[in-house]
Symmetry: C2
Subunit: 393 residues, 2 copies
């Protein structure tokens, strides 16, 4: 068997993640590997933790990167807080809320789902009603539903959960470093993210953070965590002061996350949030000028994940193939019940740039034309340019 | 906070892993990231699977890389085969056997440990006795105990396990690509490894393989696997023909593993095994010429992990620090009960080279001198060189 050397095509990653990677992050990824207990690597871990705290807007000591992808981060948060028979309420308005509920059930939680159609968000009232009835140990909710593009307001729900004495677990996979994730301000007890979205690092690590109440609950567990690999009690000894060997951390992936976090903090969180919002607004102006509608209400649209309805007459797969093959642009299809109904256009991290927005709009116009759909020629670019010029950017 | 850019020191990784990384593997790691469902990445996955089959010496279709480190591979094999109440026999003669037992207990297995002091291996007879008594569903054993340097012969035990109708799970984390791991020949039902040992790839992926009997058992499970992230039933749909989204694979880590596997197969398995054996023999000749003794019997010494007794009068931490700081050489300390008693000197993958052996012996002589230990000057180099010259290499 002759397998050719790795030589990936250059892509513009405008899907639901991974997003584009800055060359300096790829360079850090390829820095010489050292041992997982090397003093140099221990310093890298400290710095990763310290930078993650800034990005999560928290002082939580237990803030670190799990050696797996975002879903491993989800599993870490759930399985460390849940013991068999514990009650958990999970908001399910997309694929990832559903996943959180399933992860909890697998370790024996009695899960109550609050369900909403894909694309909608939860009201504080409905959460309050269920929490009052169920009296759960943990309430889990998705901040940015990557499957639908919906942004869940958290402030009031955080208060409701805490007033009921429950722990609040939040999925920030897609939101972290793209919109504010205010762990301490909202007293979120546990949260997880992924490296490959707005953080701008390749996939493979899952930042997590745990607050003091979560630590207390973990310390009082009666039964060992079902997963040895994701047991925070053990991981704390490696990422904490003891530096006790647990597993061999993915050294080079941590280098990459380190550099990605440096870029986030050099830009500044507020500037970065504003950048995501700006390019979202321009993209939206362009898409709407082509007659394309969002699948989510404007007030709950995520800037970094634009979920739009596939126009009548357009073939989902053909358009995505043409974008990929002729323009090198990846966008995502719909997930779950949205399959074939929506496109998910990501503007995450490095990807959120003016040139990507303009190229994508021009390319999509060409693709739609091939499908026999004829939006007003050039209208998308005119609208996006007008938006950019109006804010003097 | 000003965090400096990643700039790791150059190390010679002669510890228990990670091992040295070939520059072409680091280059592959830094290749442009594409999406996890990109046709290019799906081809990379196919090629990784196909090359892993060659290295595992198997035709098992279900052979792939788990998105976590070696311990995640262990957990994957155990939690997919075990249901609560199942009986499992685990050979514990080191840290990793102990870990396997614990992973199984956490998901409800009734575990029977066969125990041996660190450094020893199991006889077929003792395994037969326990298996006959316990009648387990699964027997787990470590092929290459990274904590002790002991090599467990598998042939007869495989037969005993199969004759008893049990599944045979083997930890090949340190052995794969360094000594023969013959999955099909021994009909091993499930095995796991790590990317960062003899495969010569950075840590972060865990190759696994499952045979037909293991698949049958998984298909007949009554209860869902406790881990969603490691559920082979779901992972099969992503790595198999469906390509159904499960999680976002660590794209760049898979590039690196792809290139590492190419190097393994270009060298050829037999040549690679012989290379590990050769440099082990030279290292051993040198160490013994300095009066250093192995902590494992010669007939069960692993070539890629040389566990030796720290000479009387030498301070463990001082010697390892000097090696690291003055020579850039990392070796490992003892784990568990061996802490402070042994050094673990790795010759894995890229690290298994003549120049590393000679430099290490010369450097260790200097370190021992500083400790007031005076082996016959130059004797180690003389012995290693004599060995190399005798085989005309």
């Amino acid at each position: 068997m002759t397998v050719p050397q790795i030589s990936p095509p250059r892509r513009i990653l405008m899907g639901p993640g991974p997003s584009d990677i800055h060359p300096s992050v790829l360079a850090a990824l390829a820095a010489p590997t050292v041992g997982h207990l090397d003093p140099y690597f221990l310093k890298v871990m400290d710095e990763v933790q310290s930078m993650l705290r800034e990005v999560f807007q928290t002082t939580n000591h237990l803030t670190m990167a799990i050696s797996g992808t975002g879903s491993a981060g989800m599993e870490t948060c759930v399985v460390n807080l849940i013991e068999p028979g514990d009650r958990m309420v999970v908001g399910v308005n997309g694929v990832f809320g559903g996943r959180m509920a399933e992860v909890a059930e697998r370790v024996g939680a009695e899960v109550t789902r609050i369900e909403r159609p894909f694309g909608e968000v939860f009201t504080p009232e409905e959460v309050a009603t269920v929490v009052a009835k169920v009296r759960p140990k943990v309430v889990g909710i998705v901040h940015a539903e990557t499957s639908t593009g919906a942004r869940q307001p958290l402030d009031e729900i955080a208060k409701i959960v805490h007033d009921a004495g429950a722990l609040f677990v939040v999925d920030c996979v897609t939101s972290l470093a793209g919109i504010p994730v205010e762990i301490d301000k909202l007293a979120i007890d546990a949260a997880y993210s992924g490296s490959q979205k707005c953080l701008g690092c390749p996939p493979g690590l899952a930042p997590v953070t745990f607050g003091p109440k979560a630590l207390e609950v973990m310390d009082q567990r009666k039964k060992k965590v079902s997963s040895w690999y994701l047991d925070i009690g053990l991981l704390r000894n490696y990422w904490g002061n003891n530096r006790a060997y647990h597993h061999t951390a993915p050294i080079n992936m941590n280098y990459a996350l380190h550099q990605a976090l440096r870029l986030v903090l050099q830009e500044g969180l507020q500037t970065r949030f504003a950048r995501h919002q700006l390019h979202h607004t321009a993209l939206k102006a362009g898409l709407e000028a082509m007659g394309i509608r969002y699948s989510v209400a404007a007030e709950t649209s995520l800037p970094m994940l634009n979920s739009v309805l596939i126009p009548d007459g357009a073939d989902d797969a053909s358009v995505r193939s043409q974008l990929l093959n002729e323009f090198g642009i990846e966008i995502g299809g719909g997930l779950g019940p949205m399959k074939g109904k929506t496109w998910r256009i990501g503007l995450m991290g490095e990807t959120a740039q003016k040139s990507n927005v303009l190229l994508f709009l021009a390319a999509l116009e060409q693709c739609l034309n091939r499908q026999g759909i004829r939006p007003a020629p050039g209208a998308a670019i005119v609208a996006a340019n007008a938006l950019y010029c109006s804010i003097n950017n």
